[in-house]
Homo-oligomer: 143 residues x 2
Amino acid sequence: MLFASKTPTESEIVYLLKEHEINPTYQRVLIARLLFVGRTHVAAEDVFRAVNKDSPNVSKATVYNTLGLLAQKGVIREVIADPDRVFYDPNTSPHHHIYDEISGELTDIDAKEVSVTNLPALPDDVELQGVDIVIRVRRNRKK
Amino acid sequence: MLFASKTPTESEIVYLLKEHEINPTYQRVLIARLLFVGRTHVAAEDVFRAVNKDSPNVSKATVYNTLGLLAQKGVIREVIADPDRVFYDPNTSPHHHIYDEISGELTDIDAKEVSVTNLPALPDDVELQGVDIVIRVRRNRKK
DNA sequence: GCGGCGGTTTATACTTACTCTAAATGCTCT
DNA sequence: AGAGCATTTAGAGTAAGTATAAACCGCCGC
């Protein structure tokens, strides 16, 4: 488990950022904390709204920059499943996703539940970044 | 193999569209033919440019509508792998993709080369649309 | 304290992929 | 011809994300 409690303290977040060589500024801690408290898949727009709910705290540019930085440093993970927006996932352990094409909702699947075998060998100059499995689904409206 | 030759004739395309309950209009045939001649992953923008290369033939709206229609009817397949644009893939046989995060390039992998097992059972009201595997990769620039 | 400096944040304008709308066009049937 | 329906069109609109240039912040040497 990444944190002792489900809702990490500010200092736990500061530590997490430092661990990943990220300077823990006010805005970055605010955003990261929000991600790890909610522990859900969020889009940049969600973060922007949540972070500025009461008073204007963080600009749009900083939200995008911070999410990009966190993803690049491996603190969170980008999920490309919705053609309209990128989701960010605080769960970086190996897992995959179910994507509801109607609602846009994303759900986790533990990597243990799915196995991928026989990945093709990659050329030397090609570095594997990750394997994403998206199970696309439509939940029928109840009749 | 879908077509006898690598470059399907107009009448082969017309037949393909009719088979999928698509009224084979001038624009749709033009676009579909282009897809099946190139047989590569293309974005809507590519199609728009190619189709209007010499003279203005098809409007932007029609390009998007047609690609959407072809995908919906199963003639081609949408690939969500690049956060910036949707790709369309004329190869509808079961296969997956390697996505180069640097160049944005997509490459096919035959489904036989990868196997997914233990897909989780889905609730009754949920209909499986498909399973997409994207192998994210970075090709290092040659030193 | 003060000036400078790199890193960070900001407002705002911009880009880009894609969608919407309402009018025009075309096709078919009588 | 003309009614009725499907299709296409130009152009405006939307929304996610990026670029830019100025302001700000923390820190270090003086």
